[in-house]
Amino acid sequence: MKMATANKSKRTRKSSAPAYVPPKKLPISFTVNGQEVNAEAPAHTTLLYLLRDLGFTEVKNGCEAGDCGACTILLDGLAMNACCALGVQAEGREITTVKGIGTVDNLHPIQVKFIEHGAIQCGFCTPGMIVAAKELLDLTPNPSRHEIKAGIAGNLCRCTGYVKIIDAIEAAAEELSSKKGKRK
């Protein structure tokens, strides 16, 4: 075993250490906001880092431990923390980030209401918060305030105290359900 040589004197350790071999890169193909992406990354790259390195920096890096929800994305329609998956696990999957929900020129009602209600202060939690709100409203079109709180329980905001965010989601739900007939 190579370990045995490492235990010799300090002087020889450096030269006998195995040469650094960069981890093998694996090909990964998936879609982000409907756009096909072909990437390469070592197996240990988290989905969060993979997305950010590809330029999808709207997926924010907060805690990297699944606690804060800043990196919330939709994977095949289900909200999840991008920091809690390996990039290679996304092979063949459909990912939606906040930019897939609405763009600057064509804002989604959730985004409009976030702006109107001042639910954005520093803005760091907002991309994840909007993705979580999108999943919530997809599953529960007319949530109670309690259901809204439960729906964004995995997303931390340190600015707003949540009241404005809950107001915004409530208003978005109203707007979406009143528009429903016209939209689809």
Binding site: K24, A85, G154
Partner: protein, 288 residues
């Protein structure tokens, strides 16, 4: 961090073959795997095997009075699956308190059992339901009682060549009574201070069969056999509920940590089981 190889098989046999004779670690939802990975400078293993594409590990079914949940059942499945809502609503009540909605979409049943430790929230309700763990290896399959499967602090009876394929429990019947409580500092994303699960089969006011378990107060969640025996075969009143609750507290060996003191936890191991037993059986508690 040292890199690793990655494979994503689609069948149980291919998974077991990939794991054979190598240093391997399984990944599914990743909600424990990835946070842990940050602290593992040598990497988790030589090979990481993704289970998310193994369809045989998915799905919930029920036949002949036994409910079978695939290893990849997520916490969200517990909240939405009709079989679970009908047969064991205690699992839905647990899932509602499990981390947050985004974690619940990914966190799996087998992952919580194999990796979760003393505060693994899915375990107490499963212990109270007398669940069994189904394991597969290239040598064959076996089934182990969940309480025997948990052998110590983050330790289980799983062998290095084995994989959890499913968790089963006997249906407690439509008229069973149950109670679940997660005592924690917050309503979401909290680590449990004390978790209590109670499942009671009642016939003509008599408790025929009881399942009571505690989480977060021992090295691994435990069943309270003494407390179960005290209730079984009896028409339970407040006095008997109190006796059972004391038997629960007797097996708890909690520790002090940042979330609560051992003393407080020990006290709650008496208060909460009594409260849940009384609520489940409609016994009035004049002191509360």
């Amino acid at each position: 961090m040292r890199g690793f190889d990655f494979v994503a098989p689609t069948s149980i046999s291919a998974t077991l073959k990939a794991a054979k004779g190598r240093s391997t670690k399984f990944i599914a939802g990743g909600t424990n795997f990835l946070p842990d990975l940050r602290h593992q400078h040598d990497g988790p293993a030589k090979v990481v095997i993704d289970l998310m594409r193994v369809s045989a590990l998915q799905g919930i079914s029920s036949s002949k009075g036994v409910v079978k949940m695939g290893a990849l059942t997520t916490m969200t499945d517990f909240l939405t699956n009709k079989i679970i809502l009908k047969e064991a609503p205690i699992l839905a009540a647990m899932s509602e308190k499990f981390a947050g909605p985004i974690i619940r979409n990914r966190a799996t049943l087998a992952g919580n059992i194999i990796d979760g430790g003393p505060a693994a929230d899915a375990i107490p309700p499963l212990l109270a339901l007398k669940a069994k763990v189904r394991l597969a290896s290239e040598k064959g399959r076996r089934t182990v009682d969940l309480d025997k499967f948990l052998t110590g602090y983050r330790q289980t009876a799983i062998r290095s060549d084995e994989l959890i394929t499913a968790v089963t429990f006997p249906s407690p019947g439509r008229s069973h009574k149950w109670g679940y409580y997660k005592l924690a500092r917050r309503n979401a994303m909290a680590i449990t201070v004390v978790g209590v699960a109670v499942v009671l089969k009642v016939r003509r006011k008599k408790v025929e069969e009881a399942g009571i378990s505690l989480g977060s107060v021992t090295a691994a969640p435990i069943r309270c056999y003494e407390a179960e025996k005290i209730l079984e075969g009896n028409v339970v009143d407040l006095e008997l509920a109190q006796k059972a609750a004391e038997a629960c507290a007797a097996v708890a060996t909690p520790i002090d940590d940042i979330r609560a003191s051992a003393e407080y936890r020990k006290l709650m191991c008496e208060v909460l089981p009594r409260r849940l037993i009384c609520q489940a059986l409609d016994i009035s508690q004049d002191n509360e």
